[in-house]
Amino acid sequence: MRAHLGLLLSLLLGFSAACSSSSTLGGPELDLISQVQNAPNLVRHSGIRRVESRYLLDGSRDALIYREEIQADGQGNFLITPLGAVQGGLANPAEFVAIQTMRMGFNQRYRDFLVRDLATFLKNYQLTSASQITQVAGRDCLELEVTRIDGSAHYLVDLDVQTGLVLRYVEFDSTGELYSMMEYETYNADPDLTGVVFHQSSNDEVPLTSTTQLPFAPLTPKLLPDSAFTFLEATRITESVNGDQFAKLTFTDGVETVFFLDGGPNPVSPPASTPKLGSGLNYAGLSTGQGTTLTDEVRVFHEGPLTVVWGNVAGHSVFIVGKATKAELLDMLVSALP
């Protein structure tokens, strides 16, 4: 363990230096970062996690708090079992569990703090530490303060010294208030996974390697938010209900992600007044109510640091979401227009 701790500390020093010059990073540090990057998939373990997500409603702060059990076999397979809401959930606990189960894949891939692209992460984030060992679920962790260079994001992250797994993270909003957090309450490094039925992806999402995989030419942004984001992956999602397809482009600043979804050409007729699952990306809210459909209009919604943009532009149904400003997402959309 001492060796791991030494590596983590040298990683920390490497990171601090990386703020001025990434060339100072050495092999062991980069190896360990790779370990942190891939730990959720490569570390066999199980544990109970507490997840908290705060929001502001009608001027008062509230929170959704729930527990879940994670089981991972260290070979990319995992199962997240919702254990119910502690605060802010639905009146019907079974319904809450069902919704959380449906989101299992997304939560594993995108919800929690993770270094998604090392080079971009080193470019955009600064790391500091009090160089002290903390305890999370009985495990020794190194606590790091991770701050985006422009100050727009701030995290406190506890990395397991032995495995590099993130055992706790706290995300703060721009006012310094807690926005979200995840913490392991228990941790088992040698779980019995006999009989565990691991997560199976329910949506048809495949890598998008050629635009011929889609029935339309997808819009592709050429300007990314604040130049801090970089391309991460392109996939094609086929909806299971009616077979509609859309392109999903994912960009990252190293930690956070921005999704750019293009559902292709919108139907000429106005969309239905009530959206239904599997209706593609036809946004019912664009109906004016007078039997006409507004074209080239987008709607913008804010929730904490998150901005959501959706609408119908240049004949395409588009949807963009990420922790970026409205101007950044709209510029991104404009840069994608033909």
């Binding site: 997840v51 997304f106 239904k276």
Partner: protein, 280 residues
């Protein structure tokens, strides 16, 4: 020994030259071979002594043959004369600085790439292998010309326009935005709090009025300033943008993505509103 050879690192001068002349073919010391070769390179006209040496040294005989071959190739090539204006411009550049030379270079006739290069590029980029006899190899320049011309994104127009209309503001914004944002020290917050709580800092009514007047003036200036500064300011985006307070009109699939990124808080807001009798 010519000065440029003497200036080479010792390992180069001793090993490279010596290896060209195996010891068994000389008097057990390669140094005489090296000296003779250097003398020959410096003045080929006086090659008699080297010819005599090459008659008894196989390695130097081979070296001499290669030298004559290379010299023959170089000598057979057409000698191109630099444009007269180039010499003048180089001179002027050296005297006055850069600029003239670039102009001359741009004015020179553009040379075509050798046919062999086009063929190699075609093999690597188009046919991904050997070019068959029947294949028509397009010129590289033609290939570039045949590509679809893509317009620059419209947002670039606006950004460039902003950059040109106020370069200093753009530069400031760009560099200031890239700086690490430091948090104020806690002691500052404590001092401000204590100052505000202090009884002597109660602001008088008259002062409030003057502060209000200043604020109103600033607001008025901010409202009027953009049109006065640039009457042709256009809407920044080529579509209508509507701020909304709810995700009600969003497709459930997309809404699920938003909820996932927000850790479920958007849906929790929804639930809470529903329980209060409303809905998002």
């Amino acid at each position: 020994m010519p000065p440029w050879i003497a200036s080479l690192p010792q390992s180069f001068t001793s090993t490279t030259w010596a290896s060209a002349c195996p010891p068994q073919n000389v008097d057990s010391n390669p140094q005489p071979c090296n000296e003779l070769r250097e003398r020959y390179v410096a003045d080929p006209a006086s090659s008699e002594s080297f010819d005599r040496h090459a008659a008894v040294c196989g390695a130097c005989a081979a070296w001499l043959e290669r030298q004559r071959f290379v010299r023959g190739i170089l000598g057979s090539m057409d000698r191109l004369v630099a444009p007269a204006v180039l010499e003048g411009c180089v001179h002027e550049d050296l005297q006055l600085g850069a600029g003239f030379l670039i102009g001359v270079l741009r004015g020179l006739e553009r040379q075509q790439a050798p046919e062999q290069l086009e063929q190699r590029l075609a093999e690597a980029l188009i046919f991904e292998g050997d070019v068959a006899d029947g294949d028509v190899v397009p010129a590289w320049g033609d290939l570039l010309g045949s590509l679809d011309r893509r317009p620059a994104p419209k947002v670039l127009d606006r950004l460039v326009d902003e950059e040109l209309s106020s370069p200093s503001a753009s530069v400031s914004r760009r560099f200031a935005g890239g700086l690490f944002r430091m948090s104020p020290p806690k002691s500052l917050l404590a001092r401000v709090s204590s100052e505000l709580k202090a009884p002597g800092t109660v602001v008088s009514r008259r002062r409030w009025l003057s502060l209000g007047g200043v604020a109103a003036a600033v607001l008025l200036a901010l409202t009027l300033a953009p049109p006065l500064r640039n009457p042709s300011v256009k809407a920044p985006w080529p579509f209508r943008v509507v701020e909304v307070e709810s995700l009600a009109s969003l497709d459930p699939l997309a809404r699920s993505l938003v909820n996932g990124l927000a850790g479920g808080s958007v849906q929790a807001m929804d639930w809470r509103k529903e329980s209060n009798g409303g809905g998002l």
